[in-house]
């Protein structure tokens, strides 16, 4: 097909503003999916995504559209995640597109994250097409939303399509505007092949499947490709495009198109997202500009509940890393938990998603440690160390000073919640910078916040204090000196390394108190009394006692019926399997998890 009749675009929207619903409507309208195959939110095909109503991974689909001008068009729609943790995924999607549909909720207006992603799109030279959604809602005020787009982002929006994705209103207008507003891709079929990898995953039958955007040249099955970052070469087995539910093989992929490559690639390490694919016999001179490497901000230890599953966990992490380059991991060992991995994440949601995917898709039972940020510790000998694992935190005597990462945080909120949010930020050791009215109904609150105060449960706290109306975005600002201490947890007098964490000295007592309470609630009574203590450098700051299990007896085995007794012991054995033995104390998995969410 003529390049002029191709449009590559993505959709930018805040969580719940209707991105996946609009994508579904577009799929219906272009009859890409037979109606019987239609499931709500088809693009979000991970279970977790459907359940949480969010998009985690970028996903792509090719659509055929018969326009009002009588011509047929090919649309490549690339879905993007909306959450702050997944900025990196967003920029991957953007690099494969010429334009972006910006969805704004007619009743809510622009949210912090939408703004961040829109700026990303503008940085990538994408044409932004604003769309006002949910006009069917009683509280909808499309004019205000359009004004806000013009005032806040600075792009014309008064003629933006006003739609209801849910009700299917004005969807066709959006598609027509895609044709008129978003430019067709450029590129020359005769140039050497240059294709950008924007996603990949492992298929047990075909090996690694590469999703790419062909920028220059063309590619067909049988061609030998070279991945420019590693120099690895493979013979292409199949090329094609992404149907809504299946991969559809085609003869060749041309400049301007979005498609997939299967080349029997077995080693997932060979393909990295952001790399350039070229033809081995006629390579291009320069690779495309890749993505800037994102650095994990939050670290946590992940351990298999069953120690024997360690190799399975490694395997699963490797496979996940293939299409989630933002995930990093390296082996670590814990006295309490055995062999596991210290994993780096972009944020807390990213961490939760990875854990859930490991558990669901790879059927692993996990124990995770409290998330930690990277602390910068200046030692008395003049050297500096970076600590992402509390276990490695130096002895207080060796520390000249410690620094912790802080972020620039922007919170968008209706004015009535400003007081609540300020209180929250204050409580989280935030420093107020400024407050701007975006319009009479929306305020932008700017705070400097320590990262370790938001990795736990800041989102949840913010949502509950603003009835869900506030949105939040942050970027790393740098390091600032801080009074930090390492808080240890002792069970029956012994330190449990996996439960140690770094905390600001002013918060240590409260946190210590809470942790020992939580552990007391979550560790079952043992045959003897177990003290649970929190300590800073050997000084106990909080204590609870798990009382000894006094009575656990089956007094009567009537008439020689010992089956109940046996069942009981079986159950006990099963339960024991889910426990970690720390010295003589059996600790259930839940106890480790319970200290992660202290403010619930």
């Amino acid at each position: 097909m003529n390049k002029d009749n191709i449009r590559n675009f993505c959709i930018i929207a805040h969580i719940d503003h209707g991105k996946s619903t609009l994508a579904d409507r577009i799929l219906e309208l272009t009859e890409t999916v037979a109606l019987r195959d239609m499931e709500n939110q088809l693009l979000d095909n991970m279970d977790i995504e459907r359940e949480r109503g969010i998009t985690i991974k970028a996903r792509a689909v090719r659509l055929k559209y018969h326009a009002d001008n009588g011509e047929d068009y090919i649309f490549n729609l690339i879905d993007t995640p909306g959450h702050v943790d997944f900025n990196y995924e967003v920029s991957r999607s953007l690099a494969a597109c010429e334009g972006a549909i910006l969805i704004v909720d007619a009743s809510q207006g622009i949210e912090a994250q939408t703004l961040a992603n829109t700026y990303l799109a503008i940085e990538h030279d994408l044409e932004v097409l604003p769309v006002v959604n949910k006009i069917d809602l009683p509280g909808a005020d499309p004019d205000r939303a359009c004004n806000e787009i013009e005032n806040v982002i600075g792009i014309p929006a008064m003629d933006a399509p006003r739609i209801s994705a849910k009700m299917g209103i004005n969807i066709r207008e959006v598609l027509e505007r895609v044709i008129t507003d978003i430019p067709a891709p450029k590129g020359d079929d005769d140039e050497p092949l240059k294709a950008l990898i924007f996603d990949s995953y492992y298929d047990p039958y075909k090996g690694v499947i590469i999703y790419c955007r062909v920028k220059e040249g063309q590619l067909k099955a049988g061609d030998t490709i070279r991945l420019m970052a590693t120099g690895a070469e493979f013979q292409t087995v199949e090329v094609g495009y992404m149907g809504a539910t299946d991969l559809i093989p085609v003869g060749e992929l041309h400049a301007g198109e979005v498609g997939y490559i299967a080349a029997s690639i077995k080693d997932i390490g060979d393909t990295s997202v952001g790399d350039t694919v070229t033809n081995a016999e006629r390579p291009c001179a320069e690779p495309l500009e890749g993505y800037k490497k994102v650095n994990p901000m939050v670290y946590s230890g992940i351990y298999p509940a069953d120690g024997a599953k360690y190799p399975d966990l490694r395997d699963a992490l490797e496979k996940l890393m293939l299409n989630d380059a933002s995930l990093s991991f390296e082996p670590e060992t814990s006295v309490a938990l055995g062999f596991g991995f210290r994993c780096g994440f972009l944020g807390l949601l990213h961490m939760e998603i990875i854990q859930e995917r490991l558990e669901r898709e790879y059927n692993l039972d996990l124990i995770t440690t409290a998330p930690s940020v990277i602390y910068k510790v200046n030692l008395t000998d003049g050297s500096t160390v970076y600590i992402d694992n509390p276990t490695n935190y130096p002895e207080p005597a060796l520390i000249a000073g410690a620094e912790e990462p802080v972020v620039n945080a922007h919170i968008y909120t209706p004015p009535e919640f400003v007081g609540n949010i300020m209180e929250l930020c204050q409580d989280r050791r935030g420093t107020f910078k400024d407050m701007k009215y975006l319009d009479e109904n929306r305020v932008d609150l700017h705070y400097i916040l320590p990262l370790n105060e938001i990795v736990y449960d800041f989102f949840d706290a913010l949502k509950s204090r603003t009835r869900g109306y506030a949105s939040f975005d942050y970027e790393l600002k740098g390091y600032e000196p801080s009074k930090l201490v390492k808080l240890d947890v002792l069970l029956n007098g012994e330190t449990v390394d996996a439960l140690s964490f770094i905390v600001h000295v002013d918060k240590a007592y409260a946190r210590g108190r809470k942790i020992v309470e939580r552990l007391k609630e979550n560790i079952p009574r043992q045959l003897f009394e177990v003290p649970v203590q929190a300590a800073i450098g050997g000084k106990i700051i909080a204590r609870e006692t798990i009382k000894a299990l006094r009575k656990d007896v089956l007094a009567k085995c009537y008439g020689g019926d010992i089956t109940r007794k046996k069942k009981l012991l079986e159950k006990q054995k099963e339960g024991k399997k889910r426990m970690r033995q720390l010295g003589s104390v059996s600790v259930p998995q839940e106890a480790f998890m319970s200290v992660l969410k202290l403010d619930e």
């Binding site: 045959l527 009575k551 656990d552 007896v553 007094a555 008439g559 089956t563 012991l569 006990q572 054995k573």
Partner: protein
């Protein structure tokens, strides 16, 4: 070659079901009871050709004494006829104090029953009422007296720990009053509220810590009163332990007859469905085999530790434990001894009273090493 087995007979009838009871029993009329006795005799008859010696017989329930003497005696006669009993054979019947009188007891004694176990539970009337028992403290004392007169010299009484409204003092009162009687045996069970019982529906609450303290107090008091604590819930004077129940803990064979009765025989653990009508209709007892060749080591530990004599290291070896396992078990026992839960000697491991209280968990610790 199997040469002996005890016999258990289950009589699943009660005048009224107690609020805490989770065992199988059903209301009945005389016709049903007679038919049930006949069915029991049929089942017992099937063992005739085996010529098994029988060291103990136990009629349990339900309330066996709600059944007419004629039926009870016909079943016992059948047992005597089919199995080989001798003068030492312990023949026990459970009884509710309200369902017996001197005439009934005399007949039973004459028919061969030589041990009787009364469900006394408490000697405080409010506590008996709270349990939903049909008898009073006076009924209980009278029944024991009648049994003595009828010629029973081996009498056991059940009492309960943790009855609603019971205090440590009132529990010890019951224990002392029972000890004053010329009885040889006391069984003391902690009230547990099982789902499906009226107590459970009523939301009766038991406090484990309170019960634990009461249990320890009771063990101490019964020891003072001359009773040997020979099994988690059982205390005997003058060496008169329940032979029958002890066989359960020692993994010796017993054949159970009647609805919901359990057997351990010829390396099989079997049970009969808890359906009285079906039991009567069938020509022979049809047991479900629950386990064939059960794990001997596991059972030895689990059952042996219920007894105050405990388990022998040589016993563990005999049931297949490796030297490594034996030494791990010894190490664990020594650790638990440090918490006062068991005693370890060169030869054996046994549980203390606190160990009995936590016996599920303690036994679990050992089983995890097997």
């Amino acid at each position: 070659m199997i040469y002996d087995s005890s016999v258990y007979v289950h009589i699943p009838f009660c005048e009224r079901k107690c609020g805490y009871c989770s065992f199988y029993s059903a209301p009945s009329d005389e016709k049903t009871r007679t038919a049930y006795a006949k069915a029991l005799c049929r089942s017992i008859e099937t063992y005739r050709t085996m010529h098994l010696e029988c060291p103990s017989v136990y009629f349990g329930g339900g309330t066996p004494t709600v059944m007419e003497n004629e039926s009870l005696i016909s079943v016992l006669s059948k047992i005597k006829n089919v199995f080989e009993l001798d003068d030492d054979t312990e023949i026990t019947i459970e009884a509710n104090p309200k369902t017996v009188d001197i005439r009934k007891l005399t007949e039973l004694r004459e028919a061969g029953f030589n041990r009787i176990s009364f469900g006394v539970q408490s000697l405080i009337d409010e506590e008996l009422a709270a349990l939903g028992r049909i008898h009073t403290a006076e009924d209980a004392l009278a029944a024991v007296n009648d049994a003595l007169k009828a010629g029973f010299d081996n009498i056991s009484c059940d009492m309960m720990i943790g009855i609603p409204k019971q205090s440590t003092g009132s529990m010890l009162y019951t224990a002392d009053r029972l000890s004053e009687l010329p009885i040889s045996h006391i069984s003391a069970y902690m009230l547990s509220v099982e789902s499906g019982t009226p107590f459970y529906e009523m939301g009766v609450d038991t406090d484990d810590d309170v019960q634990a303290n009461m249990y320890l107090d009771l063990c101490e008091r019964l020891a003072e009163n001359g009773f040997e604590h020979y099994e988690i819930s059982n205390f005997a004077r003058d060496g008169r332990v329940s032979k029958h129940n002890t066989r359960y803990w020692k993994r010796e064979y017993y054949l159970g007859f009647g609805a919901s009765a359990h057997s351990f025989f010829d390396h099989e653990r079997r049970s009969c469905d808890d359906d009285t009508q079906q039991y009567i209709m069938r020509q022979t007892q049809q047991d479900t085999v629950n386990e064939v060749f059960p794990d001997e080591l596991e059972e030895y530990i689990m059952l042996g530790l219920r007894l105050s004599e405990g388990i022998l290291f040589n016993g563990l070896r005999m049931y297949g434990a490796s030297e490594e396992t034996v030494s791990e078990i010894r190490k664990k026992a020594e650790e638990l001894a440090g918490y006062g839960l068991c005693r370890v000697t060169e030869k054996n491991i046994s549980l203390t009273d606190s160990g009995f209280l936590g016996s599920n968990a303690v036994i679990g610790e050992f089983l995890n090493l097997c």
